[in-house]
Amino acid sequence: MSEKDPEEAAKPAAEAGAEKGVEAKPPWLENPVVPEWIDAGEDELVLALRDSCPDAVSSAHSLEGDLSLVVTREGALAVASSLKEDLGFRYFVDAAGADYPDREERFEVVYHVYNIDTQRRVRFKIATGEEVAVPSLTGVWRGANWPEREAYDMYGILFEGHPDLTRILLWEGFNGYPLRKEFPVEGIDTGAAIYPEYYGPEQGPISGVGTGWMVPKPPEPVVEAAESDEVGAGEGEGEGEGESSA
């Protein structure tokens, strides 16, 4: 791993093996040390943020050197612009959604931003619910555009002020949010939602009763009992109708 002491790393492993039992055992022969959260409330960056936008940062911890902030929805925009304008986090890394169904507000949007001058990366998270919109950060970092669309696409997280909040990876009209925890891995029946004229309810490609491949032909669109005259010479329904009209 990157955070290793170079001297120790350069030591040949054979040597390390000889020293087995001695206290200077190389780290890769030890049991892994699980990283732990450290409270980072005293970090100067957090202090600066609490200064510029009070009450916006609700908690600050760090793990393995990565600062992780929890930011309130209301303060998100202020924190973001403060990070970019004042603290030099000009490089936008990523935005991702996450789903925690047990929590009161189940979704979380996770942003990573980076300061290329001090080589520091900051993660800040904004919690939100299904119906509650998060302020979009596209106005601060342009790069937030597509990742936020992806979060909307995958979780249904709403972003307020996003210029183009549409599905990005899935197709328009997909009736579900696949990365939500309750979404079944085998997929859902999208047939009826998108092509109601071809698939009846529960008859789409993936449904409890079977796959769409088995559907022999699209069911006839329901035509009002008009004089559909000689539509179906070979079709049972059509024949019946024809007889009745005749």
Binding site: P32, Y91, Q119, L169
Partner: protein, 377 residues
């Protein structure tokens, strides 16, 4: 995008602007990228990328499999640079679980990643050149790429979807004589780069086609989160291998090539120089390759600690490829998000192509170096 009038060839000539569907089955969209273009004759007025044709739900799949079994999924994202994907994922898991890789494994990883970078850049050069109409570099590049794939095949049995790393170390040691063959390739490689450059770098047509095309100002690039050669082509000196060294990169010497103007030509030069630097890194790694174990001590069943999250990223051939993993104390990731460089880099495409000609659009798609497997995941 404005809507076209209802129909037809009769009105097509009356229109000043027309809408052109570029892809998803177009020879130069590098896969299944689809662009909705608004063009005035040949001039591109607006461009709206439509992606997702290759979406396979990789992030959902990650949540279903134990940490070890997820490595093959990463191969399928950027399928021309599987080794760097593997490394980014394994690095993230190691960071999450506190695993420490032994030095020999770190060196092997560095070698594999740099070979992968060369092969990815070769594929980029081949397709980029053929996009601009130069046919021969394609075959030149594939000749050398084949040698790299042979080396990979010898190491792990696969040529593209390598699956060549595990959290905690390497699955196999290097085969006997592999380093010699690798060294042989690396030593012959700069001469081959000279060949490609001989065909293109000072070619008048190549220059007129690439200089000043798709200029990406550094501030805009950072704003968009663009990374890798795209960013360095704009003159921003930022390379994760230098900025946050991982594996053996802090123990080798190499330069980070930079561009000046941020146009297609500069990005071309940056990538060409990167190939040479990669050769340099591989050579040093082989010289310094330590002996010893290749796998860290780790529990038989790898479980992440409860309630923790990490983000780990490396410098892939296309840019910063990172994994954001949330662990919940079980064997599977609770959430695993991929920061795919192609996905982020592609965002800037509309800004790059606006007011260029259709032919430039093709050149700019080429220089963005996207792999749709990674864009759509």
């Amino acid at each position: 995008m404005s809507e076209l009038p209802e129909k037809g060839p009769e009105t097509l000539f009356d229109l000043k602007e027309m809408e052109l569907n570029f892809g998803p089955q177009h020879p130069s969209t590098h896969g299944v990228l689809r662009l909705k273009l608004k063009v005035d004759g040949e001039r591109v007025l607006d461009c709206y990328p439509i992606i997702g044709y290759l979406h396979r739900g990789t992030e959902k799949l990650f949540e279903l499999h134990p940490y070890f079994q997820n490595v093959p999924h990463t191969d399928r994202m950027d399928y021309v640079a599987a080794a760097t994907n593997n490394l980014a994922y394994c690095g993230a898991v190691e960071k999450l679980c506190g695993l420490v890789t032994p030095p020999r494994a770190r060196y092997i990883r560095t070698i594999l990643c740099e070979l992968q970078r060369i092969s990815s850049h070769l594929l980029w050069l081949a397709t980029h050149a053929i996009d601009i109409g130069a046919m021969t570099p394609f075959f030149y590049c594939f000749r050398e790429r084949e040698l790299i794939l042979d080396l990979f095949e010898e190491y792990c049995g696969a040529r593209l979807t390598l699956n060549c790393m595990r959290p905690g170390g390497q699955p196999h040691d290097l085969p006997l004589g592999w380093t010699d063959r690798c060294l042989e390739f690396v030593e012959s490689f700069p001469a081959h780069v000279d060949e490609y450059e001989g065909l293109l770098t000072n070619n008048r047509i190549w220059k007129t086609r690439t200089i000043g095309i798709g200029v990406l100002p550094p501030e805009l690039a950072l704003d968009y989160g663009i990374s890798g050669p795209m960013l360095r082509g704009s003159g921003v000196d930022w390379d994760l291998r230098k900025a946050r060294p991982y594996e053996a990169y802090d123990e080798v010497e190499f330069d980070v090539p930079l561009g000046k103007n941020g146009d297609t030509y500069d990005r071309y030069l940056v990538r060409m120089a990167e190939m040479r630097q990669s050769g340099r890194i591989i050579k040093q790694c082989i010289d310094k390759l330590p002996e010893g174990p290749i796998m860290a001590k780790k529990p038989r069943v790898l479980k992440a600690p409860k309630d923790c999250e990490v983000y780990f990223s490396i410098e892939g051939p296309k840019g910063e490829i990172g994994f954001y993993i949330v662990g919940d104390g079980t064997t599977n990731p609770y959430r695993c998000h991929v920061r795919a460089p192609s996905f982020i880099n592609l965002q800037a495409l509309p800004d790059l192509v606006r007011n260029h000609l259709l032919a430039d659009l093709v050149a700019i798609i080429g220089t963005t170096d996207i792999v749709l497997g990674e864009v759509d995941r």
